[in-house]
């Protein structure tokens, strides 16, 4: 296998790492307020119990995105330049969402005032809903293709960005991350929050299945390869298994694993549909950015392969250890009253 093919795979793995980890972070952020309001009593400890399921790990999860961006720059500079300059406004919205979410999570507990916390919660919600929708839209735009001309410049029209397919993509990822987040909260909490998270997962399970299946089938029929039928099939099986497990209201660990498999299958399907293009041209397939004409030199790819080969396994190892350290479930009763400690 040539290095630029390998790097297409590594890029897919980095985005997969990002979506599989931040996917439930976004879900947790989106569900923080609904889950706090579902039960009776004071919503504040419940809200914080939900938020703290991702407390020690969300920042490390986000680095997968930064690394995916850096890797795209290093391995496929042509793609990095074209995609990020063309999708300027959607990306800007994602960045704003992620900026306000990051500071809101860290600063939320630093001022003991309900009004301040409402602002922080709003920022966390915006910073979770926006990227959850927009990453789906962005990947759908990419798979559908952009009007790339012979000079690799793009003259974008609004229908390239907003059309039924890309909107469905946004709804699908948003729905999937909601379900994924609900199952994650159920897995990481005990007591009433746990029961309510499972309830939400039950409500979400079927509608989300419909959305994800519709997006998957559309992607497969319009842009898929023969072998990606298998990936789509795997996605459907895993999704149905997740639904069944959620309905059983037990085994949330297995349900979480199945949903993670769905996320994986969706990412593989999207990147499989793209390959060997990086940005398909809707004007003329000859003008598409591909792994051949938009990649870095063999030397740079070789260096980057060494760097990724050494550090990526290490990252997976210590991040896994972090999840092990913080494996215990938390309940609203365990949330300390005063918040400005470290």
């Amino acid at each position: 296998m040539a290095l630029h093919q390998l790097w297409f795979g590594i890029l897919a793995v980095l985005f997969l790492g990002f979506l599989i980890l931040e996917g439930f972070d976004f879900g947790v952020g989106m569900l923080m307020e609904p889950l706090a309001r579902l039960g009776g009593g004071d919503p504040e400890p419940r809200r914080r119990a939900v938020l703290n399921t991702i407390g020690p790990v969300w920042d490390g999860n986000e680095v997968w995105l930064l690394t995916a961006g850096g890797a795209m720059f290093a391995a496929f500079p042509g793609m990095y330049a074209t995609v990020f300059s063309t999708l300027y406004l959607p990306l800007l919205a994602i960045l704003f969402g992620m900026i306000v979410r990051a500071v809101a999570i860290e600063w939320r507990g630093k001022i003991d005032d309900p009004k301040w916390r409402r602002w922080a919660d709003l920022a966390i919600a915006i910073g979770s809903w926006l990227p959850a929708v927009l990453w789906g839209v962005a990947f759908a735009i990419l798979v559908r293709g952009l009007p790339v001309d012979a000079r690799h410049q793009v003259d974008l029209s609004i229908t390239d960005v907003l059309n039924p397919y890309t909107l469905l993509g946004g709804l699908a990822t948003c729905g999937l991350f909601l379900l994924y987040g609900a199952i994650f909260v159920a897995l990481k909490t005990s007591g009433p929050v746990h029961d309510d998270a499972l309830r939400v997962a039950v409500w979400l399970a079927l509608p989300v299945t419909v959305l994800v299946a519709a997006f998957g089938i559309w992607t497969q029929i319009s842009h898929g390869k023969t072998w990606t039928w298998l990936v789509l099939a795997a996605a459907v099986v895993a999704q149905l298994a997740a639904v069944a497990l959620v309905y059983s209201r037990k085994h949330e660990g297995w349900a979480f694993l199945c949903t993670a498999l769905v996320v994986t299958a969706v990412v593989v399907l999207l990147f499989g549909a793209l390959y060997p293009d990086l940005v398909p041209s809707t004007l003329d397939p000859q003008w598409s950015l591909t792994i051949d004409n938009a990649s870095s030199s063999a030397y740079t790819l070789k260096i980057m392969t060494w760097a990724a080969g050494i550090f990526a396994p290490l990252v997976i190892l210590y991040q896994a250890w972090t999840y092990w350290v913080f494996r215990q479930r938390i309940s609203a009763d365990q949330i300390p009253p005063f918040v400005a400690y470290i």
Binding site: G60, L91, S297, A307, I342
Partner: protein, 485 residues
């Protein structure tokens, strides 16, 4: 409006803003690691309390550094896509490695440190903050290696087929002399920032507690922390002096226009004088009056000797550059380069004076109680930040009009002007993003300042008077968390 100007403003604002927080992160992390180490080794609770106190301030600051850092990873592609195409083969590698080898470590282990106080064994918990401290410094190395390629491109050649710079030696890129000097200088500047911060905050508390009878924390906590911060700041100044000197000598050779501009040296001269004050009616070489000048300094800065040094002036370099690269204006903004260079040095003097004063007043077991001293401490805190910003404004504005400055001894085709690196956006779109960034960043800066002020004034918490005992096994399901957002 010109898309180049708006894009430059946006990059300048977002990057200078990002680098307000980063030096404090880089400089404070090792200091907190040292504090925690002293506690773990000596079991002296005062150092535990200091760790918690400065740890909290560190986290408030870290959050904004991370949040604004996300933009940095993407805006090359967003606003400088032609630049990204030209240098991606070289520039992308250190950025990706920064993620793999530094960001992952710092974020993951910081999470472990924040939430792991009673969950991890004491020494493993200590290792976490050391990993954070090393990783934040490592990230500086990677990003400065990338930046130094823009100042002085090495390790790459121009490929006429792909029309871009391509890497041929990562080792050469990482051992770029410009990069190593800049890395040393940046880390030293960060340690100055962190050391001054610890010294000034502790000094302010020292005076404050001294005037409060019955407070036993003065001698055990604030005085040692002040002295630690002062020595770190002074050592950092020493390192700043040497690394800056090395950078200057390289720059006279590698980017002569930048240094000539910084000295407002318009014509080539032998043994020119160092200018302390220059006034001009226009922002160029015409109508410039050099008011105060000192001999010997400039030759020493350039070559390490006091006379017999000929330095090229802006006018001559401009003529040479036009011959080499075609018609164009190759002069950076004279006013900005001249004054940012002097501002950097000027702002550096204030923390140095403060550190010397603090050490003098605390000598031989003394505890200062002068009000003016505690007020001076607070006023000193912003000065290293201003010096950091001035230094980067000088480096980057002095690089103009180049986005990749030509290397006089390297591949003659590896260079690019800023105007050729920009994305061809409609200016109005960049104006929208520029305004939005500026507004959000302004709000966040106000909150950041307010939170730091509040938690400095609040001081070490009663809650942290004693380290919490490690949770007994089996208590996990019911025991309150040691920390929660």
């Amino acid at each position: 409006m010109d898309v180049v100007d708006v894009s430059r403003w946006q990059f300048g604002i977002t990057t200078v803003y990002h680098f307000i927080f980063v030096p404090l992160t880089i400089g404070l992390a090792p200091l907190i690691a040292v504090m925690q180490t002293v506690w773990v080794v000596t079991d002296n609770v005062a150092w535990y309390r200091l760790t918690k106190f400065f740890g909290k301030l560190f986290l408030i600051n870290f959050a904004l550094g991370v949040a604004t850092g996300i933009v940095q990873e993407f805006q090359f592609g967003m606003n400088w896509s032609e630049y990204s195409r030209f240098v991606g083969d070289v520039f992308g590698a250190p950025l990706a490695m920064e993620g793999l080898a530094a960001f992952f470590f710092e974020s993951t282990f910081l999470g472990l440190w924040i939430f792991g106080w009673s969950r991890l064994p004491r020494r493993i918990h200590l290792a976490c903050i050391w990993i954070v401290a090393i990783a934040v410094n490592l990230s500086a190395f990677f990003i400065i290696s990338a930046n130094s390629f823009m100042q002085h491109p090495v390790g790459a050649h121009y490929n006429p087929t792909t029309k871009r710079a391509e890497l041929h030696s990562i080792l050469t890129l990482f051992t770029n002399n410009t990069g190593l000097a800049a890395f040393g200088h940046t880390v030293a500047g960060s340690l100055l920032t962190g050391g001054t911060f610890v010294a000034a905050v502790s000094a302010w508390w020292m005076v404050r507690s001294h005037n409060r009878p019955g407070d036993g924390d003065v001698r055990s906590m604030y005085r040692p922390a002040t002295i630690l911060g002062c020595w770190v700041a002074l050592a950092a100044t020493f390192a700043l002096f040497f690394s800056g000197d090395a950078q200057g000598k390289l720059m006279f050779h590698q980017q002569p226009m930048k240094m000539a501009s910084a000295e407002s040296l318009c014509d080539t001269q032998t043994d020119p004088q160092f200018s302390i004050l220059t006034v001009g009616r226009q922002n160029n070489c015409d109508g410039l009056t050099r008011v105060i000048e000192v001999p010997f300094v400039l030759p020493f800065l350039a070559k390490g000797r006091f006379n017999d040094v000929t330095l090229q002036g802006v006018r001559d370099i401009q003529r040479d550059d036009q011959e080499r690269f075609g018609p164009g204006d190759y002069r950076p903004n004279l006013f900005v380069t001249y004054w940012s260079f002097r501002a950097m040095i000027g702002f550096l003097l204030i923390p140095v004076l403060f550190a010397l004063a603090a050490l003098w007043l605390s000598r031989g077991g003394r505890v200062p109680d002068q009000r003016w001293f505690s007020r001076a401490a607070l006023l000193t805190i912003p000065t290293p930040f201003l010096a950091n910003s001035a230094g980067w404004v000088f480096t980057e504005m002095g690089r103009q009009p180049w986005i990749v400055a030509p290397n006089p001894t390297g591949d003659p085709n590896v260079h690019l002007v800023v105007a050729d690196g920009v994305s061809h956006h409609a200016p109005v779109m960049v104006v929208i993003s520029l305004v939005t960034f500026t507004l959000i960043y302004a709000v966040l800066a106000v909150i950041w300042f307010w939170l730091l002020k509040r938690y400095v004034a609040e001081g070490p918490l009663e809650h942290d008077a004693e380290p919490a005992p490690p949770a007994p096994p089996g208590a996990d399901d019911v025991a309150p968390l040691s920390f929660a957002y």
